[in-house]
């Protein structure tokens, strides 16, 4: 993975000094709380319901075991013994004391980590495919481009005070989008043109939040060397023309929608023609310099044995078999597999990992996966490079650590925001709901029978739990002071991107998990075969059978009654 040189290191050290000064100026009264807020936000420090929250950047989700140990140490020493994996492949601490934040930043800097631009109206952490570098279906490794973007976005002088936050995601796997690029402010999809040249399809204006929008293609093919100059033009058009009068209408998606994609494209291309210079072009030497850090680890030469996984999946150890079927993914190198460690388990809020688990994961990464782990946007962890022959041993170790859940991509692999338990924006709690789902459906045969289905829960319309793109989305709302939940069906974040729609009237806290069960029950009755996924059934039959299952009537008025 990328290693800092003296320059990268100096920037992070100077940043830590700068933040100390900002805190001191706040304390001395030189700047007001209002003036301090964007400064602390751009250093990842939020004020939440009960305490400060510190969000640490994990560029494109990639961590070394040394970094994981440091995160464990911080959780143990400065927090309550756990950390929380976020939907932007970052990690956050929910209980740091303000006085300890500068020390935590020093600790992070010692392992080449920071909290820069994890919040605020600036370019945020660059995210990518959690199987980047090992996926069989990728054109090339997207991480060097993510790292180049990380450096470019770090303290960009022109774009530190955008109308609103700005999220960029990169994928190089045309067949399957695991980075939800169509729901980012900018999504880059690596593609090859007719001449075999590689470049990016540039998507702009996707996002969730109050107004979910699927990104539009602004450019079919951008040669890779123009990546930075073109993105600068997109950001300049947005910085100048994006709305600043209403924070709920300030994201780039609103600008693209208001102008129309043709006019937006015209403005970007016009700016680009005027601003691009040869110096801004990405030289091959720089791509090569950064790419060298992502060279493949020393894989052993192992003969391909495609039957091995199948036999593990069907073996006598049913726990192992289910885990291999659900948590193990193909790797481009023969004899190796990618393993997703699920942290979604009954009784544990989705995404929470304890300090002891983090330490153990670091240890396991060293022994099984060349010391690397990756945070997924679904709030799990990947061991990218595991020898297929070692899977039984790895599974046994993970199980002993309570990390052997075989539910990746299944019903209980829920994505959720922190909700009203932590967040002062939330209308409703989301964690207890995810715990109830984990409890209710904690039967592996049922999970396997229902198959691939995603549940995503947000505690308010800001949609941090990505409910719009859940096959089943749940949105917490406030109804006369009580927590209610809207049930949505049909969302998908991938290449077949779609935004879920509300099924009917909002449901009370004691109704919502029953409703999920009814929806799934109806799906099991009406799917045309066991191969038809939940999402495909919803797309085929529409909402009526599910309305009928939940509300006892498919009549839209009745189903929507009172809401």
């Amino acid at each position: 993975m990328y290693q800092y040189d003296d320059y990268d290191r100096r920037i992070i050290i100077e940043r830590a000094q700068q933040f100390r000064g900002q805190v001191a100026r706040r304390l001395s009264g030189e700047i007001t709380e209002e003036e301090f807020k964007p400064l602390r936000l751009q250093n990842g420090l939020y004020m939440q319901l009960h305490a400060y929250m510190l969000r640490v950047a994990i560029p494109y989700g990639l961590l070394s075991s040394k970094q994981v140990r440091k995160l464990a140490h911080i959780a143990r020493t400065y927090d309550k013994g756990y950390a929380h994996l976020t939907t932007r492949q970052n990690i956050q601490y929910n209980w740091p004391r303000l006085a300890n934040v500068p020390v935590i930043l020093d600790e992070l800097a010692s392992v080449e980590m920071h909290a820069v631009q994890t919040s605020g109206n600036c370019v945020r952490n660059i995210t990518s495919d959690h199987f980047a570098g090992i996926a069989r279906d990728e054109i090339e490794d997207p991480r060097p481009y993510c790292e180049i973007l990380r450096q470019w976005s770090t303290f960009h002088p022109e774009f530190a005070h955008l109308p609103r936050k700005f999220k960029i995601a990169v994928t190089a796997a045309p067949g399957e989008d695991r980075a939800a690029v169509r729901f980012h402010d900018i999504g880059l999809r690596m593609v090859e043109n007719a001449q075999g040249e590689r470049g990016f399809e540039v998507l702009v204006g996707g996002g969730l939040g109050r107004t979910p929008v699927i990104a539009e293609v602004v450019r079919d093919f951008l040669p890779k060397r123009h990546m930075l100059s073109y993105i600068e033009s997109i950001l300049r058009v947005y910085n100048l023309a994006g709305r600043r009068d209403n924070k709920h209408k300030a994201r780039i998606k609103i600008l693209v929608t208001a102008l129309g994609v043709e006019e937006f494209r015209r403005r970007v291309e016009e700016d680009w023609e005027k601003s691009r210079t040869p110096a801004l072009e990405l030289p091959d030497a720089e791509v090569a310099r950064v790419s060298a850090f992502f060279a493949p680890p020393p894989y052993e030469n192992i003969a391909a044995d495609p039957d091995r996984l199948i036999s593990l999946g069907l073996g006598r150890d049913r726990d192992l078999g289910n885990w291999v079927k659900n948590n193990v993914f193909p790797h481009k190198v023969p004899g190796y597999s990618a393993v997703v460690i699920s942290v979604k388990k009954p009784g544990i809020p989705p995404g929470d990992v304890s300090d002891t688990q983090l330490d153990a994961i670091a240890d396991i990464a060293d022994r099984f996966s060349f010391g690397h782990t990756v945070v997924t946007h679904t709030q799990n962890l990947v061991l990218p490079d595991v020898k297929t022959s070692e899977l039984p041993r790895l599974h046994a170790e993970l199980r002993a650590l309570d990390l052997g859940e075989a539910n990746v991509g299944k019903l209980t692999d829920v994505i959720t925001c922190p909700g009203l338990d932590y967040c002062d924006l939330a209308n409703a709690r989301s964690i207890p709901l995810s715990l109830e789902i984990a409890e209710r459906f904690d039967r592996i045969d049922y999970l396997n029978d229902v198959g691939d289905v995603s549940i995503k829960i947000s505690g308010c319309i800001n949609a941090c739990g990505h409910h719009h793109v859940g096959n089943i989305g749940i949105l917490g709302i406030d109804k006369r002071g009580e927590e209610f939940y809207q049930l949505m069906l049909g969302g998908s974040p991938g290449n077949d991107a779609s935004i879920g729609k509300i099924l009917g009237r909002a449901l009370a806290q004691n109704e919502i998990v029953d409703a999920v069960e009814k929806v799934l029950g109806r799906y099991l009755e009406i799917r045309d075969s066991i191969d038809e996924r939940f999402l495909d059934t919803v797309r085929r039959v529409g909402f009526d059978p599910f309305k009928e299952a939940v509300y006892g009537s498919a009549d839209p008025l009745e189903a929507a009654g009172g809401d």
């Binding site: 320059y7 000064g21 030189e30 700047i31 964007p38 450096q151 002088p157 005070h161 801004l280």
Partner: protein, 159 residues
């Protein structure tokens, strides 16, 4: 009034003139863009140096006679309004503006490093903010990744 210009605290030698107010007998006035558009034919020959003050929603292309202006003051109605950073960069990089580029309004120390990189060389700090503190901001970072007005080469061409 004191301002920061070229990393030094100096006495301001320009005079802001409000739209209805009378123009000074002599000296260097800064007028609003609206007034400049109406009166530029008389303003430019009358004074040794003329400055124009533009709101944050104006673009360089909205300002005529750029080459004849000694100063452009870009307003920051709020410190979180970042349009002026792009305006500054376009004025310098695209329009070749070489006069004084001044940030006015809600200007704080923690903007100065970025503003200077975007081509600003003069700063009217928000009233009440110490200018000495502002002077320290320019040296906070000794490494920068991006191309900007201060150096058209991204760091990968300087590394």
């Amino acid at each position: 009034m004191q301002i920061i210009r070229d990393r030094k605290i100096v006495e301001d030698d320009f005079i802001h003139v409000a739209d209805g107010a009378e123009l000074p007998e002599s000296g260097k006035p800064i007028v609003t863009l609206a007034r400049f558009l109406k009166e530029r034919a008389t303003l430019l020959p009358r004074y040794p140096a003329v400055g124009v003050r533009i709101a944050s929603d104006k673009l360089p292309s909205d300002v005529p006679d750029l080459a004849k202006l000694a100063l452009i003051a870009v307003e920051f109605p709020k410190f979180t309004d970042g349009r002026g950073y792009s305006t500054g960069r376009m004025l310098r990089d695209r329009h070749g503006f070489t006069g004084e580029l001044r940030a006015v309004g809600w200007v704080l120390r923690d903007q100065l490093f970025y503003l200077e990189r975007c081509g600003f060389n003069a700063f009217e700090m928000k009233p009440g903010k110490p200018l000495e503190s502002g002077l320290e901001a320019f040296k906070e970072f000794t490494v920068t990744y991006q191309a900007a007005v201060d150096d058209p080469r991204p760091f990968y061409r300087r590394r």
